[in-house]
């Protein structure tokens, strides 16, 4: 309160003094004060500008650490995401690759099964066995023996043919019967009339050996007044096809889960 009083008394001279100070008066002290004020103004503007476009350079250490932490976290998150996506990509690619491979394998297996089931013509190295039987002495049992012998020697596809090019593919359920009328051999319901021609695909030398062994088919045929002649060929065609019947009872089972 005392201060207030004294200031109130001095206020009259205050304005006068201000006006007096506003009068230009040159002295070294005044110039120095002016220079300092100029420096202040300059620094003020510089600082204001600096603050307005505050970049990370103006931040304190703690803020920088927090900022760095944020960026690191974000980077780690994005890294994890990228890894996950790459993994997905790899999975999808290998998945489609697997599908292609599986299809290829399935096709190859289909070919194998088609040859095995006799639903498709087969070709390859093998033998051709011509049996002449003028006396009709070759029985169904002999033909079956021939087929068994060839199978044992590794024949992969066999057909038995008769006169006029009639031929029957020998498959897993092929039946051989003596024709009741004595014309020849009934194979899978078709009567084949001699001379017979058996075509087998496999290792030609092995097949030939299997037929020519002592006590084998060729010798048996000879003892029965018939004759057999084997021709080995580099490429031979088993063209007769088997028409598979759809099974009435058996159904393909799902592969059991391996325990």
């Amino acid at each position: 309160m005392v201060d207030e009083q004294t200031h109130g008394a001095a206020s009259g001279t205050g304005r006068r003094r201000l006006r007096a100070a506003m009068r230009p008066g040159l002295s070294r002290g005044h110039l120095l004060a002016g220079l300092l004020c100029a420096v202040l103004g300059f620094a003020l503007v510089a600082q204001v500008r600096q603050t307005q476009n505050a970049t990370i350079g103006a931040l304190r250490q703690g803020e920088l650490v927090a900022l760095l932490q944020n960026v690191t976290d974000q980077s780690a998150r994005l890294d994890a995401q990228a890894r996950q996506l790459e993994q997905q990509l790899t999975e999808l690619q290998s998945g489609s690759d697997r599908a292609v491979v599986a299809e290829q394998v399935a096709r190859e297996r289909l070919d194998v099964y088609a040859v095995l089931a006799g639903t498709r013509a087969a070709s390859g190295p093998g033998i051709q066995l011509d049996i002449t039987d003028p006396g009709r002495v070759v029985s169904a049992a002999t033909v079956l023996d021939t087929v068994q012998e060839l199978r044992g020697a590794g024949a992969e596809a066999i057909q038995v043919g008769g006169q006029n090019g009639a031929a029957v593919r020998v498959v897993v359920d092929t039946a051989f019967l003596d024709d009741p009328a004595g014309r020849g051999v009934e194979v899978d319901g078709r009567v084949l009339i001699p001379p017979y021609r058996v075509v087998a695909i496999g290792d030609a030398a092995s097949l030939h050996r299997a037929l020519a062994i002592p006590g084998g088919i060729l010798e048996t045929l000879q003892t029965r007044q018939a004759s057999g002649r084997v021709i080995e060929q580099q490429s031979i065609m088993v063209s007769a096809q088997h028409d598979p019947k759809a099974s009435r009872y058996a159904r393909a089972a799902e592969p059991a889960a391996t325990p």
Binding site: G34, L36, G41, A46, Q50
Partner: protein, 110 residues
């Protein structure tokens, strides 16, 4: 008069030259500016009190800046830089306010 002129010249120069604050000066400049402002207000009050002295003004101006910068530097070294800077600004702000109040009494007689 010359001081006011100098202030204007400085501001204009700052606006025209568009200076960038060097990195080593960045922590100290804001505090130094506030300290200098305090000195200027003190000088203005001294003018109105009729006790203005060039020498005192110059010395207080420079010493204010140096001490403020020194405190910020010390605070940074001690790991309490931002807190100490805040403290310095608060103290200088109080001083500026009290000086401004004294100037107000002189000018508006209230």
């Amino acid at each position: 008069m010359i001081a006011l002129l100098g202030l204007v010249v400085g501001v204009v120069a700052g606006l025209v030259l568009e200076p960038t604050v060097p990195v080593w000066l960045q922590p100290y400049l804001p505090i130094a500016v506030v300290a200098a402002l305090d000195a200027v207000f003190g000088g203005l009050r001294a003018v109105l009190d009729g006790i203005f002295d060039d020498r005192v003004f110059t010395v207080s101006f420079l010493s204010n800046i140096v001490v403020a910068a020194l405190m910020v530097y010390l605070g940074d070294q001690l790991g309490v830089g931002s807190q100490l800077a805040t403290g310095v600004v608060v103290v200088l702000g109080i001083r500026i306010f009290s000086n401004a109040a004294a100037i107000r009494r002189h000018v508006f007689k209230a």
